[in-house]
């Protein structure tokens, strides 16, 4: 706003209000929906009232009711004697004789009151009609809104189901891995913690140097796997990775015991956690997994 005075000259409340209303409509996405709702409510109202010709005319009359009532001419002398002219003059001349039979003033007064009362009734009917019309419109709008909300609820329920199934799948995978984990853990534990001890029965054929080589190879493979997971997991997994890499560089070369200790806050001398891959939570499966 480089020149505030220019802004002052151009400020226009009507324009601003139009912009505000446009923004609201845009937010609601109701520009065309509004017209549709009006159409729908008109149909519904017609259905409620019926399709009889007289009733359709009545609706039109009610719509114009208030305006028509105001347009009506007031009741005065001319209503009784007609417009000014020879005949009207004669009627007025003879009015004293007429007054012997009936009271024109009382008649005019009564007619006036009736007219007023009719006009008021028409106005109130018009107001009532407008009220009903607006009620039907609002009901229709609410119905559309309720349908929209129902659809949103359905959509949310679907999402919730999906998320629940996904959570179950992740839990299942974690359980599967934890079931799978102890065997290699035992092997690895023996390989790392008892490097100088006697060879176990199953591994007796392998020389000591071969076992070390296998451990080194296994560690490499795990590192590669972690790197892959790190890449898949994105930046959010970096802290875990740093813990893992820190663990890999820890003295003693026990790649599992140290990360577990780092993650759980255990001292380095303590026994490793039973969940060997606890520090590295499983990557949530892709949608295809389910």
């Amino acid at each position: 706003m480089s020149d505030p005075n220019a802004r002052f000259q151009t400020v226009n409340v009507e324009q601003i209000m139009a912009q505000i209303r446009a923004r609201i409509r845009e937010r609601r996405g109701a520009d065309h929906v509004d017209a549709q709702i009006r159409e729908l409510s008109a149909e519904r109202l017609a259905g409620l009232i019926g399709s009889h010709d007289a009733q359709v005319e009545l609706i039109e009359k009610l719509r114009r009711g208030a305006a028509a009532a105001r347009e009506e001419a007031p009741i005065d002398d001319s209503s009784l004697y007609g417009r000014r002219g020879p005949l009207g003059w004669v009627r007025r001349l003879l009015s004293p004789i007429l007054a012997l039979f009936l009271s024109p003033k009382a008649m005019l007064h009564a007619l006036g009151r009736q007219g007023d009362s009719l006009a008021r009734q028409e106005q109130s009917s018009a107001v009532l009609f407008e009220l009903i019309e607006n009620l039907v419109l609002e009901t229709t709008r609410l119905e559309v809104e309720v349908k929209k909300l129902e659809m949103r609820v359905e959509s949310q329920a679907t999402r919730f189901d999906f998320a629940e199934r996904r959570a179950r799948a992740v839990e299942g995978m974690a359980r599967y891995r934890s079931e799978q984990a102890p065997e290699p853990e035992g092997a690895r534990g023996r390989a790392t913690r008892e490097p100088a001890g006697p060879a176990p029965a199953g591994a007796g054929a392998q020389p000591q140097g071969g076992r070390e080589a296998e451990t080194a190879l296994g560690a490499d493979a795990r590192r590669r796997r972690r790197r892959r997971r790190g890449r898949r997991g994105g930046p959010a997994r970096l802290p875990d990775e740093s813990i893992a890499s820190g663990a890999e560089q820890a003295p003693g070369g026990d790649a599992h015991a140290e990360p577990g200790a780092a993650a759980s806050g255990a001292e380095p001398g303590e026994s490793p956690a039973p969940e060997p891959r606890h520090e590295d939570p499983p990557t949530p499966p892709d949608h295809d997994d389910q």
């Binding site: 409340v13 923004r23 009734q121």
Partner: protein, 436 residues
């Protein structure tokens, strides 16, 4: 000139309505003419109970003559009667009884008028739908001025009221909207008609230079304007200088700083002033404002005036109480936006006072008068529903240049139409016409 102002209640305690309007005009007219206020001893408009003593009194230069009411109102009986009178089929006697119960029913005042009307150059009746005006206008229609302060209400359909509106020789409308409305409802026969309204003081707009840069409760625009120099509305603002040439801190010199400090208000706030009741749209205001806050709005709501309904205990709502006129002015000046939620207004002094200090208004679109003020003056926005309120308020709070532009337009609107000298000269001209 000797002028009588006839009004149901009169006193400095009575704020709002035709009574307040009458007092403001009478006090100003009293500086130039001999002014009497003829009123009742009532203070409460729902019961018309005699509370003030029945004796002449002088209030701010105006001689106030009070007369005791002969009847009080039973609200329940009055409601029943109103229901009957406002439906078709009632009689003239019903209307007369309704008028008596509507009140204030004060035969001594009417007697006084009948005996002394010739000693006055003009009789100015405030409000058209009460017994004082309806009966009093019949005493001396040729020297009577009616300030109708009318809005669309069922009582205007009564024959007794219709006749009263057709009697006076002069009518002073508050707004062109009111004039159009009454012309559509009645056969106005007044020879002298004019839109006069009520005057509003235009305070000097350099007393409170806005906040300097870096102040905590300044908006961006306010901060920009804190430096000396010409602002966007062409007014030169200077920071006040204390002893030894020391400039006061921004917390002392900001616009409406005293009000903000007293009520611990930080950041933008929306102000309402007047009777705090549901009929004035306050319930709806609180509800809409809660929606604004839920939508992420950062402003708070401050209400000043008489509290006639409970207010929710929310951190964003502050009740400032009944303020003096000086404080009221400070509050209007301090406000970011003034909100006028009343659906029924005949003039809205709150809106005009806000315009006069350059604060933009957010008004209810249900009041035609308020919409007319906003559109004619290009000085405020209006709302018809909750969404428009939220969006309009968010726009005003966020857009400081828009507020400044609307504020300047508002001041210009008041300067053109509602300056005291214009209002008083119109009254003088009108009463002068009656003397011819």
């Amino acid at each position: 000139m000797k002028i009588a102002f006839i009004v149901p209640r009169y006193g400095t305690e009575i704020l709002g309505g035709p009574e307040y309007h009458c007092r403001l005009v009478a006090e100003r007219m009293a500086e130039r003419h001999q002014v009497d206020a003829l009123t009742t001893c009532a203070r409460d408009a729902t019961t018309w109970q005699n509370e003030y003593p029945e004796a002449p009194d002088r209030i701010r230069g105006v001689l106030v003559r009070r007369f005791a009411n002969a009847a009080t109102r039973d609200p329940e009986a009055f409601d029943r009667l109103s229901a009957r009178v406002f439906s078709p089929g009632h009689t003239a006697a019903d209307e007369a009884e309704w008028l008596r119960q509507q009140g204030p029913w004060c035969p001594p005042l009417i007697d006084y008028l009948s005996r002394h009307h010739t000693s006055y150059d003009g009789l100015v009746f405030f409000g058209g739908v009460h017994a004082l005006s309806v009966v009093g206008l019949a005493v001396a229609p040729s020297r009577s001025v009616l300030v109708p302060a009318a809005h669309d209400e069922p009582a205007l359909g009564l024959a007794i009221v219709r006749e009263a509106f057709e009697r006076p020789r002069a009518i002073a409308y508050n707004t062109p909207t009111e004039q159009r409305f009454l012309a559509s409802r009645f056969r106005i026969r007044a020879e002298v008609q004019d839109v006069i309204g009520c005057g509003v003081d235009l305070p000097q707009h350099h007393a409170y230079p806005r906040l300097g840069p870096g102040a905590s409760d300044a908006t961006e625009g306010e901060a920009e304007q804190g430096r000396d120099g010409e602002t966007e509305d062409g007014l030169v603002r200077r920071s006040p200088v204390g002893e030894g040439g020391r400039r006061f801190g921004s917390h002392l010199t900001s616009r409406g700083a005293m009000f903000r400090r007293r009520h611990r208000l930080h950041g933008p706030f929306v102000l309402y002033g007047g009777r705090i009741e549901a009929g004035k749209g306050c319930e709806e205001l609180v509800e809409y404002f809660s929606s604004y806050v839920e939508a992420g709005g950062e402003a708070s709501l401050v209400l000043m005036g008489v509290k006639l309904m409970p207010l929710p205990e929310e951190p964003f709502i502050t009740f400032a109480g009944l303020l003096s006129e000086t404080e009221r002015g400070q509050a209007l000046e301090a406000a970011t936006v003034v909100v006028v939620p009343s659906p029924v207004e005949t003039l809205s002094l709150l809106a005009l006072e806000a315009f006069s200090v350059g604060t933009p208004v957010l008004a209810s679109a249900r009041s035609e008068v308020l919409v007319d003020h906003c559109l004619t003056g290009n000085a405020g926005l209006f709302y018809a529903d909750r969404e428009e309120f939220v969006e309009g308020l968010a726009t005003l709070v966020a857009d400081e240049p828009l507020r400044a532009a609307l504020g300047r337009n508002g001041r210009e609107y008041v300067r053109r139409n509602y300056r005291w000298d214009i209002v008083l000269s119109k009254y003088e001209r009108m009463i002068g016409e009656l003397r011819k």
